[in-house]
Symmetry: C2
Subunit: 266 residues, 2 copies
């Protein structure tokens, strides 16, 4: 790894880092931006599912990161924070960016393990904080994969990766067109679909489910009734008069309950 | 309730709403700002602990909110969104603001119930999203109160109230100077202080604790070791290689475990 200094914000080798916010919205043709040290370290670790195309650091960040970069087979560009800001279009205070390659997305069915399985299915989740938080919780509680419907936002969006603490780079995910397609996959794969509902059976007394998929929907309207009807409804006991938790928090409590047995054995 | 139209952003009756962001930072002499319909409805409900000084609405919000405002003993000002924005210093898209009165803060010891008790203690939590999230979770899982050290940020800061979904207006809270003072209160009140730590005993097999206080610290450094040493350490089982959850999420899982028995009986 020989770092390559760059002084010119117009250098074509930095093209993919330009106008970062605008391109966050339109996509990057098979690439994604990773920012910050925590996320870069995950991307460089053996746990990440994605290849690195390049790294862009301010020079003072190099010494601390050099050991993690040692085995990297991709260019490491060095540019001052002023040049980084001019390229990105806004200040890059942390001085740590990288480009990852999305690669081919796995097929949803390929992500369902034989034997014990715990998956998360997201339907219509358009908030990057929530999606990032759900990946972090899925990683913590040992979920095998996250499946997303077409309306759910991109787990490789810059902010979603950051909020996930880099776990959207490690937890496998794949897309299905609709929530119904998620339920069809459950049937095909003999997974019990679970939906959180105040009127469901208490999750505290649920028998162990060796193969389950936890469905999570948007915070306001929740899951469509037609999907709920196809799922087993479970409730997180809450104080009277309180009717909701943040969706990532509710998912964490449910995954803790569903994954607990497996984790205690690990 | 007779609404009072105001056309002049300089009207002295709106003084307390001016320069909202700057004054978020310096405090408001015994007042706080509530924004948005969800929060206003909580503030107007019998559940809120605080009196309303005034309400400021854009006229088109009045019909929907009139029933909730019917019994209010405080002025309701009506101003266009343009006037509201000129007063606040930034656009008030939702058109819903109110001023609440903090009143006298209760003494921490007065918030500890006799008999079964579940409290949350926050040490050095400077992030308003996390503090708001923790209040929401404390409400959901039936915690009796939240105690804060001097470094923890204000639960009545505008954004903290919003993230709490209004529960920082309903869950009682009080301040102590330090984390040590929190532990002294636990001793005085016969509360078991609990601290989350990967090396603690599993929270999944913890015996029921009739009187407990869950300590939560900042996400990075966590609780100071000197405080940890005075607490009973409990661990949330997690997948190998994953060492942390967001602090509000970890608190939610712990409160779910600690409060679950009480809630199932309710």
């Amino acid at each position: 790894m020989t770092p390559i200094p760059i002084d010119d914000p117009g250098d074509p080798r930095l093209d993919a880092y330009t106008r970062m916010r605008e391109r966050d919205l339109v996509g990057r043709e098979g690439r994604f931006i990773a920012e910050g040290e925590v996320v870069l370290r995950v991307l460089l670790s053996g746990r990440a599912r994605f290849r690195v195309e390049s790294v862009l650091l301010s020079p003072e960040r190099l010494p601390g990161l050099a050991p993690a970069l040692a085995g990297l087979d991709a260019p490491v560009y060095l540019a001052s924070r002023a040049v980084m800001g001019a390229v990105a279009g806004f200040p890059i205070h942390r001085g740590v960016l990288a480009l990852g390659l999305r690669g081919a997305e796995p097929s949803p069915d390929a992500l369902v393990p034989p034997g014990p399985a715990l998956l998360v299915g997201l339907v219509g989740l358009a908030n990057h904080d929530n999606v990032g938080g759900i990946f972090r919780n899925a990683a913590a509680f040992g979920a095998d994969a996250v499946l997303l419907d077409a309306e759910t936002c991109d787990p490789l969006y810059r902010k979603a990766i950051r909020v996930s603490a880099g776990t959207s780079l490690t937890v496998p995910f794949a897309r299905l067109p609709t929530g119904d397609a998620l339920l069809d996959l459950c049937t095909r794969q003999a997974l019990t679909p679970l939906a959180l509902s105040p009127r469901g059976e208490a999750i505290t007394t649920l028998p162990p489910l060796p193969r389950a998929l936890l469905l999570l929907g948007t915070e306001g309207p929740g899951l469509p009734e037609a999907l709920m009807a196809r799922a087993r409804r479970v409730a997180i006991p809450m104080a009277p008069g309180v009717d909701s938790l943040n969706v990532a928090v509710a998912g964490a409590v449910a995954l803790h309950r569903l994954g607990g047995g497996r984790l205690a054995e690990a």
